[in-house]
Symmetry: C2
Subunit: 344 residues, 2 copies
Amino acid sequence: MTLDEVVPARRGRAVTLREVAARAGVSIATASKALNNRQHVGAATRLRVQNAAEELDFSPNAMAQGMVSQRSGTVGLLTSDLVGRFSIPVMRGVEDAFGSEKMSVLLCDARGDRLREQHHLRALISRRVDGLIVVGARPDPRHSLGHLGVPVVYAYAPSDDPADMSVVVDEQAGGRMAVEHLVTCGRRRIAHITGDPSYGASHDRAAGALGALSDAGLALAGGEVMYGSWSEAWGRGATRLLLDRDPDLDAVFAGSDQIARGVLDALLEAGRKVPEEVSVIGYDNWEVLSLDSRPPLTTVDPGLENLGRVAALRLAAAIEGREGHGVEIQAGRVVTRSSTAPLH
Amino acid sequence: MTLDEVVPARRGRAVTLREVAARAGVSIATASKALNNRQHVGAATRLRVQNAAEELDFSPNAMAQGMVSQRSGTVGLLTSDLVGRFSIPVMRGVEDAFGSEKMSVLLCDARGDRLREQHHLRALISRRVDGLIVVGARPDPRHSLGHLGVPVVYAYAPSDDPADMSVVVDEQAGGRMAVEHLVTCGRRRIAHITGDPSYGASHDRAAGALGALSDAGLALAGGEVMYGSWSEAWGRGATRLLLDRDPDLDAVFAGSDQIARGVLDALLEAGRKVPEEVSVIGYDNWEVLSLDSRPPLTTVDPGLENLGRVAALRLAAAIEGREGHGVEIQAGRVVTRSSTAPLH
DNA sequence: CCACGTCGCTAAAACGTTTTCGGACCATAT
DNA sequence: ATATGGTCCGAAAACGTTTTAGCGACGTGG
């Protein structure tokens, strides 16, 4: 009996390997091997199967494949990031690293809600994701998800459990690089205006900045790090304060591009030329803010896309059994535009 | 023979229904029915199964479920949007509409590359997504994907094939609302600075604005719509030009929030008070730009999240057999902040 | 002529569920 | 005693694929 008689008319359903095999006049097993470039198939037969598959527009059912391989070919990306500021670059890094050839990304937005997070987690586990990347909304450590039965990599926000694997940006190095760049520009009276002091990153960046400053034998202009909020308004206000307190300041390191925008505006208003009299460097390289400011903003790019790539690489390794753990730190780089320049 | 002897020690693999059944001392069939709240299961038995599942931390294999139900419980979100400006709100709308209870989202970023798009498409088809939402990078019509065997809804950018189903924002109504708001504020000399003229949306918004203007018996200040680019720099330059050409202008409708920022800056520099002397309204409600400007920006919110919700609703309907077609238009709304105010 | 490999192919098992069908059992009515 | 009906439960098929084991046929060296 040939398979032909067994195959009923399909009503709207996808083409199956059985139908391909029937059309090529071979068994399902042979068809499978032919299409997957396995050996033990004659050249002529293979060609016949490939043609049949082509003609029927065959597309293998990934669920069925997943059943036998015990791999879903899927990773979960669990984010708490409301606006997607950080998750999108990470997501692109993930796609690049996995080649998106055999790995698809299941994206879930927990929106900072722990319940929703649990919910998504259950769904991902049920889908048998091969691995999971957890992207935090802010760089501070977050609670560990614990043992889930699949590898997990935390990106941007590290897990609070050192047994987990985390990949984060080096905030301290970022702060250091920013100030070093200003020092290289010949600046001597450098101030630091930054954001919410409840963010660990604020302090890390400040520590890096202070370190670079003391390495250069300089003191912080304004006397102290100016903590506030991640907003342009704070950048403006703090700058006015600073100008009062320390009129001969020649550079400002802003803790974010939003703050830097405020700094720029206040400086412009006070009649200080940027970058000639005062140089300004931001943090984040959020292009909608940094590209089109007056002047375009020199800023520290935290390298989120790279972060995503590294996270994906670590996840891929863990999936193949080479599990890692601990916090891996990735440095960013300074993107030089026109808001900083050598003195004179 | 009990099932106990059949169940081998599992090495790292997920708990299976067979194990739950064994622990509860029932057959797999009964266990399935018990957990899915099907009838024909005794109350005591059901409880025993539920407890067993709980104790073993059982999570049903979605792939296996998908095999029998012929549904993957998955929708694809195919985006071409580089920065995720539009896709993220849409994605949230999708999650909301589907409740994320039984539907997960497979996110793919084609990055404007047609080849990559084809590639992702194949992957999604192979995963047997129940439906597909295609989000464009700009509001202009895009090429149809054709017939894929699953329902497709185009969001933001409509398909060029009227047989497809598209959901887009009503750009013309947006332009109209913006000007109507300015007219309500008592403004009489209203100009319109907008972006790239190769965007259909530029012209749609302008048409809406012009319509509202003529309804109010007003002429466009500056004489013509000022097309340029979607940037702050263009907003600044165009404003200076405009101020020269028509010094007694009392309102500007900017085609994007970025442009509006430039307008605001140029106005400030020219010594014009906003909103008292000149009112400014933007478009997009991109909060990082609109919330923290001086003053905070009144702007047209295109309602992307709602767009995503509607797209998801239409997709859900199509999945259940109620297919639609044609272009559905969703209106946004004006978000009033401080950059517009009644005259006097 | 026999032993032995190799090649090309197929049947069947396995993956983890849901669902259909029928059987066992019990109570009640005839 | 037999029929009737209802309630619980289990065996088995089905979903679409990969993989393993095995079967002929053919060639090759003894």
